[in-house]
Every structure is written in structure tokens, then in C-alpha cells.
Amino acid sequence: MSEQAMEFRPSAGCSMGVELELQILNSRDYNLARDAADLIGMLEKNGTPGAVKPEITESMVELNTSIHAAHESLVRELRQLRDAVARAAERLNLRIAGGGSHPFHDWSDRRIYPTERFRHLLEVYGYLAKQFTIFGQHVHLGCPSGDAAIYLAHLLSRYVPHFIALSASSPFQQGQDTSYQSSRLNTVSAFPLSGQMPFVHSWSEFLGYFEKMRGYGIVESMKDFYWDIRPKPEYGTVEIRVFDTPLTVERAAALAVYAQALARYALAERPLPPSREVYMLYNHNRFQACRYGLEGAFIDAYTQKHTKLREDVLETLQLISPHASEPGSAGVLGELAESVKAGGSDAAWLREVFRERGSLNDVARMQSERWMGKTAVSA
């Protein structure tokens, strides 16, 4: 990687972009299929190039939006992408689903998508590479400078449990109820370069750290860090990576707006300094969110207060709603608050479907119907 690539390219304040990793299912028993290459090929032929990319195994595909300032344009583009992918999938007799994990696939059936990088990952990480067939949403937030990105990354670390609990949609793995709301992050934790950014205070300090790691030969580029939150200098963004892919694009857009409002609040008011305490409590809070979702316990590093995560999310929503980028976004934050109060979550929906239907095949099927926009089928 060249020096230039590590140069932070400033971007418009708190613009946002979304990446969604999605599941490709067959229509027979709704297990994961292996048709990523054909699906991407068809989308390219039909003129949706660039926005749809391969991921580590042939059962995954990634959607990328362009850069947005407001909720309305973001959700519009997400719907367009969803419709294009859903149409292409239907022509290939495939289904597409959201959700952080596939409920019953067997990881050993997965096949690595044939690119040099993914093959290299298989060589380095062995079976972990195939177990990495989990599905996340990444939200990019534009930052005016590298220093601002470092500050933002530290501040957002306090809110990582929020992101996890609000998106949690991976209660099932490998045919079992994991008892977690988000079991996906347990898989990420197995990677040696997962975790958090080091406690640095400026972009130049960060570059020093990066150069050292590169000097040891541990990493080649920022891509090799699987951190929960990482700066992305070539985009001029901070990237939040702990979200499970939600069951609908509407939910994905709402989560991006939540992150955007938080970032606007953080960068405009600089309300709190980066704190080592946040990282001391980090794994505790994160685990609680993965395990119990919004019902999890949360310890605020700045006030030492113990609360339910739900309370902290609702307080935060109140705090940041004045910072919504436009009225549409404020409305979305209001709806998010309502859903938090009502206690609904994607993980709960999935468990409810399983309780009703008694079959994980049906869970995967209805997951895909929900994502593709056919909730009416759930008779």
C-alpha cells in the first residue's frame, strides 16, 4: 500500500454510506446457495455495476450505496438496489435474505469466492475463513480530517453496544438457537486482528502505529484490521462494522441515520474526551449487548452509572435528535425510539417465526420474503 492510500482524504461532514452483506439462498430448502458469481454477472449485464460485490464465500453478496447526506435519498437508493438484486435473484431461482447469520447452514459446505485475496484469507485463517459466512452492515461516516476521524472513532466506541443491540439479527447459527441476540460477533472475535483501534490521539500517531504494524509484516493495509470501528483514510470516513445486517433495508437506513446523528453530535459539540475507561468496560458492555440485546446491562464509562442498555439508547436518541441532518432523519429517529420502547427487534422476530413454524427452513424462507418485500406470504 502506498503512502498516498494512508493519507486521509477529507469528506463532507457526516455524509453517510452503507454496505450490506446479504445471504444468497436456494429456493428449495432455503439453505445457502453458491451462486454469487452468476448473480453478480447478471446484475452487471443489467446495468447495476459496481454497487454489488463479491464477499469471502460464494453464498454472500455485498451491496454498496453511494454517499448520502439525508435519509430519504439513502433509503431510496437502498430500495432500488434491493429491487435490482431481488429481480436478478428471482431470474436465477434464488432468494436473498438479510439477517446476521443463516439459521442452519453448515460452514464446512461453504466455498471461498475465487479471488486472490479471498484465497489468501483461506490460507491464513483456515476454517475461520469459511465460518466468516456471516452478514454485517457497515456504515461509513464522512470526516473532515484524520484527527476528527480518530476522535470520532473513540467517541463512537462508547456506543458500540447500541449498534449491536439495535441491529441484532443472528440468534441462530448452524441449526441451533445460540441464546444470543447477535451471535455473529462471536465469530468475528476469533480473528487475531479483531478488536478495537489502539488508544491514539491524532492521525499522525495513528500512522506511526500503522507503520509499525506494517514494519512487523502483520498487516499490509487497513483492510487487514477487523476492528469494530476503523478509520478508512482513502474514503475519508470512520467505518462502523458491528451491525448485523438487518432484516429490511428500511431498518438498515434507520441505523445509518442513528450513527450519522451521533457523529454530527460528536463532531459539532465534542461533548466528551476520548477515555481509556470506555475500553476498560468495552468487552463487558459489548458482550451484554450481544447476549441480551437491549435488555443487556450497560455501564457508562463517563458517569460509572449502571443502566439497562435500552435506557441508554433512549436517552441518547433524545440527546442526538436535534442533530438529525434534516426533518426526514429526525422522523426516522423518532420511529426508532418507538420501536425500542416497544421492545421489538429482528432477533425477536426470527425467534417468533421459529416458535410459530417450528422449522428453521421456514425461518430462512420468511427471512428472505421479508427482505425481498413479500411479508404478505407469511400466512
Partner: protein, 400 residues
């Protein structure tokens, strides 16, 4: 003295036959896999040829008749599973695929019919032989796909086209019964009503089975084991009922499979996988169908069979190559699909047997043409299908 001892010569029974055929097939399959690096199916078929009238003569016509029930069970299971895969809505969304199925069926019929008549084979023989040739062997395509755990567009489309052309072959051959009956001076009632009875009867029986399956499954709840037993019970009963009513087992089970998927609007049925049970019957299926075509057939019908095979391949390939592009699958997929549609096996044999049972003389002459083609394609077919699925990159990695 010692009357409690069994008398020589011993009389075999179907169970002994089943076990021995299974053992022989198992050994043949392993040899094919390890020595010839060919699909196991090829080994089963070669075992059948070795045991059959053309080889050691152990598996003679009488034993084949006894073993035929196992072939029907295996075919029934396979056709049911194939039918379960068929989702009509896909054919509506990808009309090019539906069109491909119609065109390749029509062209393979036309090519074979034209070439055979050109070689002075009688019109009626040519027509029936061409109708049988429309069908790709569902057994070979399904079993190779399952063995390789193959999954992807080529596999999926090969299976859909196979299901379509099997139905079209059956319907065409059944319609030709009008002509056969007429040729053999059957009474008018038979001429008109027999084909109608076969088609309508098979459709109704398959439909009844599907409705019963869905209704019972709804009451059973989602239990994997319960559903497996339920489906096996219904499949066995449906095969038996089809035989009892003089209907075509293959067509009935295919209808049963297709409707159990497409009528199941509330998704009451769980995914069905015959698992090891199906595999056991599959071995016997291929051993027995290896034993039926006789090398004598090949000697008399050799040239015709070769021409038949080539004309059929040309017709199918032209149909597939001309339309697959529009379906939007990747480059090269069409060629592999053509290879995957070549096998002929037990289904063709069953169709020949059906005619033989009606008019032995007509059936015998038909057999000389069709069965010698089957002999060639039973061995070549699995190899081609395996090549196609592997080349398409759709076979699973071998697990250590």
C-alpha cells in the same frame, strides 16, 4: 430323510436378490471410482451388464422381472424428489428457460424422427423411439448432482430441463399409443380411451397423493423424522396404487412431486431428502437397468443406435444453445447444459417395457433401437454429466 433341508436347486426370493444386487453394485461402484476414476453409476451399470444376459447370464429375464419392483421404487423416489424441486413460478419468471425446455424437446424429437425414417425405419417405430429419446435420464442427472453435492445454475437448469423433457416424453409417447393401438387393430374404445386414461389417471392419482401429503403434514407438525416416514409411506403406496391401476409409475410420482411443492401454499411440507434409503435403491436401479439392454441388441441395432444418439444430441444441443443465452446465465453454461442432458437410462427402459407389455412384437423391435442407445448412454451419460457439473465449478469440494 433330512426333509428339513432345503431342496436343490434352491429358489431365490426377492429379498435375497435385492441384497445380492446391492452388494454386487457396491463392489462395482467402488471399482469404477477407484480404478476407472469414473462415477459410481458407471460401475453399477457395468456390474449389471456383467451379470446380465449379455454377460454371465446370472441376471436373466425372469430375475429382472422380479427385481423390477425395486427399479420402480427407485425411479419413483427420484422422480418425486425431482418434482419437488420444480417451482412453476421460476418458469414464469424465466420464460427463456421454459422455452428452452420446449424447443430442445421438440428438436430432439424431430432430429431423431427424421434421421430414423431417412434410414428406412418404419414411421411408427421412428416416432416412438424419438419420443422416448426426448427424455433425459432423471436418475443419472439427480444422482450425479447428489453425489457431487453439485449446486449452481447449470445443475439447477439441467434438473429443470430434465423434469420438463421427461414429462414431454411421457405425454408424447402416450399420445402415440393412439397410433400404435390403431396399427395393431385394437378396438376403437381402446384406441381412444387408453391414452386418455393413462394421462388423466396419472395426473389424478399424483394429485390425490399430493393433497393427502399436504393435509397429513399440516396435522403432523414440523418433525423431520415424521415427515420422512410420511413421505416414504405415501411414495410406496402411490407406486403400488399406480401399478394396481395400470398407470405409469414414473408420471404419477413426478406429478405427485411437482404438485406437493406447488400446491403447498402454506409450506406445510418440510424439505424432503431420501438420504441413504434412496441411495440403496439407486444402486439396484442401475445394476438392473444395466442388465436389461443386451449386447445382441447392439450388434443388430449398433449403427442405428449410434445415429440415434448423435441425432438426439444434435437436437438437444441446438435447442439449448439457441436460447440459453437469453436466460442470462454465464458464458459456457449452455455447452455444459447440452452435455448434462445426454444420459438415457431406466426411464427409457421403463417406456420400452410399457410398450413391450402391450405389443411384444412391436416392443422387441423398438428395443433393438432404443435399448442399444441406452446401453451406450448409460455408460457415457454419467461421465458427461459429472464432467459438466465439475467444469461448471458447481461440484462441492471433496471433504477429507
Amino acid at each position: 430323510m433330512m426333509s428339513f433341508l432345503p431342496q436343490y436347486p434352491f429358489t431365490a426370493n426377492p429379498l435375497l436378490l435385492f441384497g445380492l444386487l446391492l452388494l454386487a453394485g457396491l463392489i462395482g461402484g467402488e471399482i469404477a471410482k477407484r480404478v476407472l476414476f469414473a462415477p459410481r453409476i458407471v460401475g453399477y451399470v457395468l456390474t449389471g451388464i456383467g451379470l446380465g444376459a449379455g454377460g454371465a447370464g446370472l441376471l436373466d429375464a425372469k430375475l429382472v422381472r422380479e427385481a423390477w419392483i425395486f427399479v420402480e421404487i427407485a425411479l419413483g423416489l427420484i422422480l418425486f424428489e425431482l418434482g419437488r424441486r420444480l417451482d412453476f413460478t421460476w418458469l414464469r419468471r424465466d420464460r427463456w428457460l421454459a422455452a428452452t425446455g420446449l424447443i430442445e424437446s421438440a428438436l430432439s424429437f424431430a432430429f431423431v424422427f427424421f434421421v430414423l425414417t431417412w434410414l428406412d425405419v418404419g414411421l411408427l417405430y421412428s416416432a416412438v423411439a424419438a419420443a422416448i429419446g426426448i427424455a433425459t435420464s432423471p436418475a443419472v442427472v439427480m444422482v450425479v448432482a447428489q453425489d457431487l453435492k453439485s449446486e449452481g445454475q447449470v445443475t439447477e437448469r439441467a434438473l429443470y430441463l430434465t423434469a420438463m423433457n421427461s414429462v414431454i416424453a411421457y405425454v408424447t409417447a402416450t399420445m402415440l399409443l393412439f397410433w400404435i393401438h390403431h396399427e395393431y387393430r385394437a378396438d376403437l374404445v381402446t384406441v381412444l380411451l387408453h391414452p386418455a386414461y393413462l394421462l388423466a389417471g396419472s395426473a389424478v392419482l399424483g394429485c390425490v397423493a399430493a393433497v393427502i401429503a399436504i393435509q397429513l403434514a399440516r396435522r403432523l407438525g414440523k418433525s423431520g423424522r415424521g415427515h420422512l416416514v410420511l413421505m416414504l409411506a405415501l411414495i410406496a403406496a402411490t407406486i403400488g396404487a399406480a401399478r394396481m391401476l395400470g398407470l405409469q409409475v414414473v408420471l404419477v410420482l413426478l406429478v405427485f412431486g411437482v404438485l406437493s411443492r406447488n400446491l403447498d401454499r402454506r409450506h406445510d411440507l418440510m424439505p424432503f431428502d431420501t438420504g441413504p434409503i434412496g441411495q440403496v435403491f439407486v444402486v439396484v436401479l442401475f445394476v438392473v437397468s444395466g442388465a436389461i439392454p443386451q449386447l445382441d441388441d447392439l450388434r443388430t441395432g449398433g449403427v442405428l443406435a449410434l445415429v440415434y444418439v448423435l441425432a438426439r444430441f444434435a437436437g438437444k444441443s441446438l435447442g439449448v444453445m439457441s436460447l440459453t443465452y437469453f436466460s442470462g446465465v454465464r458464458r459456457g453454461a449452455a455447452g455444459l447444459l447440452c452435455l448434462a442432458l445426454t444420459p438415457m437410462s431406466a426411464l427409457a427402459i421403463a417406456m420400452v417395457q410399457d410398450t413391450r407389455n402391450l405389443y411384444p412384437e412391436f416392443g422387441a423391435r423398438l428395443a433393438a433401437i432404443v435399448l442399444s442407445a441406452v446401453l451406450i448412454l448409460q455408460i457415457l451419460g454419467p461421465v458427461l454429466v459429472q464432467f459438466a457439473f465439475r467444469r461448471a465449478g458447481e461440484a462441492a469440494e471433496e471433504k477429507a
